[in-house]
């Protein structure tokens, strides 16, 4: 890797310093995003955009995808200012997770014997995440065959999600509260994780809360107490080498 001089560091953090202006002077985060020369994600960020319809699902079938899109839209809805989980591409994020290593049980110890444990002992079902979603979603689809979840009105959808959350319902062997906890955790992950994973489109959640993403240095800012950092967030996909300085005394190669 390139050795970057201290001078380069100063230059880069200096440039960063210029973007620190009082909140009132910054038009809004969305237009700042458009000004960002290296933006990889589309600048478009209206809460009405509906990228879900362009999603190519690798794991979910059509019925499952319809439930997932409708469910995450209730879990984290859009509002006047910010898109919600659907607009952020959370169903796409969950789809790719379930189609890949995590869905297949990555970092999940999977030897029996299996038995229910105490709450302190954590997850004790034999299902991988992919098996868990598939099983639970099939059971939900059957239960709601008359009027599928996606075609219900938002109040009915919320109330159904609350019954899942409360537990006590058996979804083909998956307790409904366990399914809901997985659904919610995945929705939060897809909403807040780096866009390289297929959710958090346009870094909508990061702009909403003011998390700047994968910047590598706040050394010059950390003691500027209370400043408002109004620069567009940065994804891993945009990050570039060149923002750290390497002491020439540190060998660039491993021993």
């Amino acid at each position: 890797m390139a050795e970057i001089s201290r001078r380069t560091l100063m230059k880069v953090t200096g440039a960063l310093g210029t973007s620190i202006v009082p909140a009132a002077l910054v038009p809004d985060a969305a237009s700042a995003q458009q000004d960002h020369a290296h933006a990889a994600a589309p600048a478009q960020s209206s809460p009405d955009s509906s990228p879900a319809k362009f999603t190519t699902y690798l794991f979910f079938n059509a019925e499952e995808a319809a439930f997932m899109e409708a469910a995450v839209a209730r879990l984290i809805p859009k509002d006047e200012q910010w898109g919600g989980a659907l607009e952020a591409g959370v169903p796409n994020y969950i789809d790719k997770q379930l189609a890949g290593a995590w869905g297949a049980g990555e970092r999940l110890y999977r030897s029996g014997p299996w038995q229910p444990g105490t709450p302190s002992q954590g997850y004790q079902l034999p299902f991988t995440p992919a098996e868990l979603f598939r099983t639970a979603l099939r059971a939900i689809d059957q239960e709601l065959a008359q009027t599928p979840f996606a075609s219900r009105n938002p109040d009915e959808q919320d109330s159904y999600l609350k019954t899942l959350e409360a537990g006590g319902k058996d979804l083909g062997g998956v307790p409904s509260d366990v399914f809901f906890a997985h659904l919610w955790q995945c929705t939060v992950e897809g909403f807040f994780s780096d866009p390289v994973y297929g959710g958090n489109r346009d870094m909508v959640s990061w702009r909403m809360i003011g998390f700047p993403g994968a910047y590598a240095s706040y050394y010059d800012l950390v003691d500027k107490h209370g400043i408002k950092l109004d620069r567009p967030p940065m994804s891993l996909a945009q990050d570039a080498h060149g923002h750290i300085h390497m002491d020439p005394g540190i060998p660039a190669r491993s021993p």
Partner: protein, 592 residues
């Protein structure tokens, strides 16, 4: 059949903090050393580099740097009447895996223990009397370490200068220093580097704590405040506050770790050989059972080897040290029914969890501008820094604002009364994310005869060997202690200007499903009596004197503070004795 390899002088089981440090000391003394690491080789360049290292999903949520629990998890139950079940996903604690071990993904919070910690039982009996100590819990098994603070002070000093700790001394040779922690044990000199810059959340905590008459000070940190060259000639850089520290490796050469402070020198030494992706199955003993002959391990391709060695050092994560002893038949396993036996006894944890302080929306906390040890803190409630006579419990906690980042999958606080999902939840997250301060309570864990480690009768690892079984719940003493301090910390939260302060404190039962601490300790404890300890003060096994079990497993009970620097100090203390005494006359260095 295992292939028998050429004998060496010493082998380490694990190449993390203790494994690399012990190996360095002994190769420099001329010994041939092999380091066996179950994980992969990995280095700052190219493995820890940006942008990939700043990936919250991969490292914080999926725990990419942690022990491969699909092969070797730990089983768990709250008490011995339950059936232990495997912890199928790591949450509560996160043992590292790979070259450098947990000393790569640690935060760099770099404390010393206190004078009283090393003579804990003696100290408690002297100050409060037997009746009081017994009233804190009939099952509690406090114990002395068998060494004193004065004995290891020089080794604390050496270790701090090795890894470049940044901080402000509070007590140099008994003289209280302005700006430091006045409760600190006496140090022989200043920290090698000045404290880090104070964060905004730290400054707010400082103000609140000062208002109430407490003694705020900058957290000692192994994320460096300035460029530094350690005594081995290795250069470290200044921490840039990227906000991706714990659960991550440092891309900047700014965190003390084996990769930055030890390995570049060790790996160049011709007396050292590193073997990665090697899982040690057990230590071999000779026919007397009192001497180790080497270890059996399996490499990444599944081939089995016997590595003969004159000395075996167990230098794994504390839980794995205990398991290795049990799998090898070294030391008598602890039996909770009779209280006899030692291996697995006095397993302790750490009491953690503080309040969440919701600030006014005009306060931009900027938690993402942070390091792994960015705290401003107080030690007024640490250890035995306050009089416990009328409190009905023993122990204490440090308190501080130590927000190690603002990564949003993990951190998106909402005040009480907010729905758990939906529009109101989303709007509350947006409103409070940058205006909320987490305050940490972090402290002692009392040992109990009910809490212990042994081998699981049912569940096996990928090589068919029993898992370690953990039986643990927080003693009532710890709950009383933590809840007492929680009340005090709520007052600090209000003095900080918190509009809403959500009370913290530890509760029962202990659960494996929520992250608390990776300071698992004990189970192979040190002491001066073989009936109540596994190793002597040099961390040498009483029963098999050419086996040393180094690290947190040796703590008789857990202290107030993060344990890494104390592990470094007791390791250097042991290695000095091994070099100066053991190598000249191999055998027990302390007579039982």
């Amino acid at each position: 059949m295992a292939e028998r390899l050429k004998a060496v002088d010493m082998v380490t089981i694990g190449v993390g903090l203790t494994g690399s440090l012990a190996a360095l000391e002994l190769v420099q003394a001329g010994l041939k050393v092999v380091g066996l690491e179950r994980g992969a080789p990995r280095f700052t360049v190219p493995d820890f580099q940006s942008p990939a290292i700043h990936d919250e999903l991969r490292f914080s949520i999926r725990k990419a740097m942690m022990q491969d629990n699909t092969k070797v998890p730990v089983s768990f139950r709250n008490n011995s009447s339950e059936t232990a079940l495997p912890i199928r996903r790591w949450e509560s604690f996160l043992p590292g895996q790979g070259l450098g071990g947990s000393f790569v993904h640690w935060n760099g919070q770099s404390f010393r223990a206190q004078v009283a910690d090393f003579i804990y039982r003696t100290h408690l009996l002297q100050r409060y009397g037997q009746k009081f100590v017994e009233s804190c819990g009939a099952d509690l098994t406090f114990q002395d370490w068998g060494l004193t603070y004065d004995q290891i002070e020089p080794y604390y000093d050496r270790f701090e200068y090795l890894i470049g700790v940044s901080g402000k001394a509070g007590n140099i040779n008994g003289q209280i220093q302005p700006g430091g922690n006045p409760f600190e044990a006496p140090r022989s000199r200043e920290y090698p580097n000045p404290p880090m810059k104070e964060t905004y959340f730290g400054a707010i905590f400082r103000k609140g704590a000062e208002q109430l008459g407490y003694h705020p000070y900058p957290q000692p940190s192994s994320n460096l405040s300035r460029p530094y060259t350690n005594p081995l000639g290795l250069k470290l850089q200044q921490c840039v506050f990227c906000g991706f520290c714990e659960r991550y490796a440092c891309e900047h050469y700014a965190k003390g770790s084996p990769q930055t402070t030890i390995l570049p020198v060790l790996l160049k030494n011709p007396n050292y050989e590193l073997r990665t992706n090697c899982e040690v199955l057990r230590i071999n003993l000779d026919s007397t059972g009192k001497k180790a002959t080497g270890v059996i391990y399996v490499d990444g391709a599944g081939r089995e080897f016997e590595q003969p060695a004159e000395m075996v050092f167990i230098t794994a994560f504390p839980l794995n040290n205990v398991r290795t002893l049990l799998l090898s038949g070294i030391g008598k396993p602890y039996d909770p029914r009779t209280g006899e036996g030692v291996v697995g006894r006095n397993y302790t944890y750490q009491t953690t969890g503080g309040p969440t302080v919701f600030m006014d929306e005009s306060i931009n906390v900027n938690p993402f501008m942070s390091s792994g040890a960015p705290g401003t803190m107080i030690d007024d409630f640490g250890g035995d820094n306050f009089d416990h006579s009328n409190l009905g419990f023993i122990g204490g906690q440090y308190v501080g604002s130590i927000m190690t980042g603002g990564r949003p999958i993990e951190f998106h606080p909402t005040p009480p009364g907010t729905p758990k999902w939906g529009l109101e939840w989303k709007q509350a997250v947006a409103r409070h994310y940058n205006h909320t301060i987490a305050v940490q309570q972090h402290g002692t864990s009392a040992p109990s005869r009910l809490n212990y480690l042994d081998l699981d009768p049912t569940y096996k690892d990928a090589w068919g060997q029993p898992l370690l079984r953990m039986t643990f719940n927080f003693p009532e003493n710890d709950i009383r202690m933590s809840q007492y301090i929680a009340d005090k910390v709520v007052e600090i939260g209000r003095a900080m200007g918190g509009k809403t302060v959500v009370r913290g404190g530890t509760k029962r039962p202990y659960t494996t499903t929520v992250y608390q601490s990776t300071h698992n300790c004990g189970g192979a404890i040190m002491g001066d009596d073989p009936r109540t300890s596994v190793v002597n003060r040099y961390q040498q096994c009483w029963d098999v004197p050419n086996v040393f079990s180094l690290g947190g497993a040796s703590f008789p009970q857990n202290i107030t503070y993060n344990y890494t620097v104390t592990i470094g100090a007791i390791t250097l203390f042991a290695l000095d004795a091994i070099k100066n005494k053991y190598l000249k006359a191999p055998g027990p260095m302390v007579q039982a």
